[in-house]
Symmetry: C2
Subunit: 197 residues, 2 copies
């Protein structure tokens, strides 16, 4: 561990946003998982909640996750598993987090409308099936990226990034990257964990 | 061809932005090519310029492109091949298009700074090697998405989308989706081509 490396770790931790996360509901392609984790890292999101695909054992999902993060993003973004999207949504809402489901419905709003400076989790759907209607209903809001073409939907990692960089923009404007969002104690704890894995 | 389908084609063509495009310099993973084409379609970009990977025959790049666009985006976004990035840049600049290279350099600016209402092409680099220094120098500007984490770079399709949706935002604000950017003659020509392939 060089001093430069340690300084970088501290710099990055001071930018971390513990109140911004994603919830991936059965997202299952390694390249998508990998791209989403990299984007989380880039905007300072610390946790990627994940519901493993129903068709996949927990073990093989774990190794797929691991494979997915060859770019090493899994070291810097904590992947937290949940039994179902509904469980995860209720748990997050219980902690005061607004869950924004990426889902087209009667109540969908443009993804630029929500206030991302609030504690926020972005719910992403599986490549084939999207977000389930029940999960979308349980969420605090439904958001959608305007599609102006012939194709119906974006790639899931592309949608995640488009939304997370809007969150980054709002949080930059609000000064949330200008001072640490983690407590001193958390900063010390993570610095130790990252520096001496 | 149902009347609804034809109406959708006309609606989409009225939103098309002939002055917005990407240039993919040796981008080669099918899932990235596919995701980029879908995003182009979604923001109304009509052309994806592409320099085939040096290691790949034109034939196999073509079939990879085709495979990549199983989501059918290749029907709606024209893929135009070029021999080299430099050739393509000069050609675009000759047509009055500003080329924005996604590249970290002395002169890089935040990707939100450029004026995307001008005729614009976003230059994207290969998964492994990024944009070459010569191509970046030939470009009108270098742009970068701010990275606040430990990982150095984003997935290329994620970076493309982040930038293209900023372009969409600016063009929405400027009213560029409110009236057709294609001439009446072009609208008729494309409508015919899309409706009767
Ligand atoms: C390929 S899409 C799912 C498509 C599925 N057939 C459906 O209709 O929901 C996979 C995921 O990408 C995200 N996504 C794709 N396009 C989106 C858009 N325009 N707005 C918001 N999220 C989008 C959502 O998380 C979605 O669940
Ligand atoms: C994985 S990156 C290339 C990484 C390569 N090692 C480098 O240093 O350039 C592939 C492409 O994604 C795009 N990209 C990735 N991160 C970006 C960022 N932060 N800002 C702008 N473009 C980015 C660029 O087009 C880049 O050429």
């Amino acid at each position: 561990m060089t001093p430069e490396r340690y300084a970088k770790i501290l710099r990055v931790l001071r930018l971390r946003q513990p109140t911004l996360s994603v919830l991936m509901d059965e997202v299952n392609k390694p390249h998508n998982l990998s791209a989403i984790l990299r984007t989380c890292d880039a905007v300072g999101a610390m946790t990627a909640h994940a519901v493993p695909p129903a068709s996949m054992s927990l073990g093989s999902f774990r190794s797929r996750m691991f494979e997915a993060s060859s770019g090493s993003a899994h070291k810097w973004v904590n992947v937290q598993q949940h039994a179902s999207a509904l469980d995860a949504i209720r748990e997050l809402q219980g902690q005061g987090v607004q869950v924004l489901a990426t889902h087209l419905s009667q109540r969908s709003v443009d993804y630029r409308q929500p206030d991302y400076t609030r504690p926020t989790c972005v719910l992403l759907g599986a490549e084939k099936f999207g977000v389930s209607d029940e999960a979308a209903e349980a969420a605090d809001a439904n958001i959608i990226i305007p599609m102006m073409g012939m194709v119906q939907s974006l790639n899931v990692s592309v949608a995640a990034a488009t939304i997370l960089f809007e969150a980054q923009r709002q949080r930059l404007e609000a000064g949330m990257y200008a001072q640490p969002q983690l407590s001193d104690e958390e900063l010390r704890r993570f610095a130790f964990r990252w520096a001496y894995p």
